[in-house]
Subunit: 195 residues, 2 copies
């Protein structure tokens, strides 16, 4: 078998997600993943440190993108507009083009308590990345922290709406709507002025 | 030694937090905690399943209180007003009277990656509890989820402000302010109408 395997990483990812869904994450071995993909274990370990990294290997990319996109928002944007811009951009660039794999991955993560915990930790690092990028834009320390956590709450809820929809609306549209909902929902007074 | 030890739970908690801070969480044993408190290991295990439960044993109480307090908010309250009411009540009833222990606990948790992960998971269960209670108030499914996560973001940020302050303002006041900040901060347009 040659060292060069066309799209080895994508084939391994597809094979792993299939097996995780069929047999569960815990019961699946790297040997099985490599065999399903028609590749060697050696090739697997050239792309992933372990089977969990198939699910979480993209986190660093998203984290880096969050920082660069928040920084790239127009200078006059409010902090929240910068956060929403970054999330919409990442939705369009990272999540939407990979929708089937993204949905399969979520089913696998949701089915496993340990993976759900890992997902929470990932989300916390995303919130911290947004907060860091906002601080670089001059946003006060704790306001940046608050906006980072609000941003991840929006991403999480919008993502759920996107995955559960019957139609084919883009994730970025769910993000924009959910972000505006976060603002209206966090009013202590109702529109008529009563608390 | 008699079976009845006055305030055994409180003495064990104080002893454990002292030792966790002096020697680190991982290096501290139940034997040492019991000895420091002047109690037996047997007494320790009547109160806590393990040393980690000294730090996380109150989670169920807070979770239950979140649900009952959100439910107890006035019928005409907006979802966000109900969340803020619940957080303020819990701040006054649970956190403020135990301020020194609460602050010591946070130092211990922040110093240990595994405990920080456990804290994230605890926060996620709090967000889910708020969301459940809001659904019981008739709030739509994903709006309730969003408000639950926003509520925990506010609690987290307000808690940090409370612990770091030089003065002695109540946690409940930081919660009210931070909750209002969440609303103003999540505006996509600035007050002058520019994005």
């Amino acid at each position: 078998m040659s060292r060069w395997e066309p799209n080895a990483r994508g084939r391994l990812e597809t094979a792993a997600l299939e097996l995780f869904r069929e047999n569960g994450f815990d019961s699946t071995t790297v040997t099985e993943i490599a065999a399903r993909a028609g590749l060697t274990e050696r090739t697997f370990f050239r792309h992933f440190a372990d089977k969990r990294e198939v699910l979480f290997g993209g986190s660093q990319l998203v984290r880096d993108l969050l920082i660069s996109k928040v920084g790239a928002a127009p200078a006059h944007a409010t902090p929240w507009a910068a956060v929403v811009y970054a999330l919409e951009e990442i939705a369009a660039e990272v999540f939407e083009p990979r929708r089937p794999l993204v949905l399969q991955r979520q089913v696998v993560v949701d089915a496993n308590p340990e993976l759900r915990e890992r997902e929470l930790i990932k989300s916390a690092t995303f919130a911290a990345a947004i907060a860091d990028a906002l601080r670089d834009r001059g946003v006060a320390d704790t306001a940046a922290e608050l906006a980072g956590q609000a941003g991840i709450a929006v991403l999480h809820t919008a993502f759920g709406r996107w995955t559960r929809q019957d139609g084919d609306r883009e994730l970025s549209r769910f993000i924009g709507e959910t972000a505006d909902e976060m603002h209206t929902l966090t009013a202590r007074e109702s529109p008529t002025g009563r608390r």
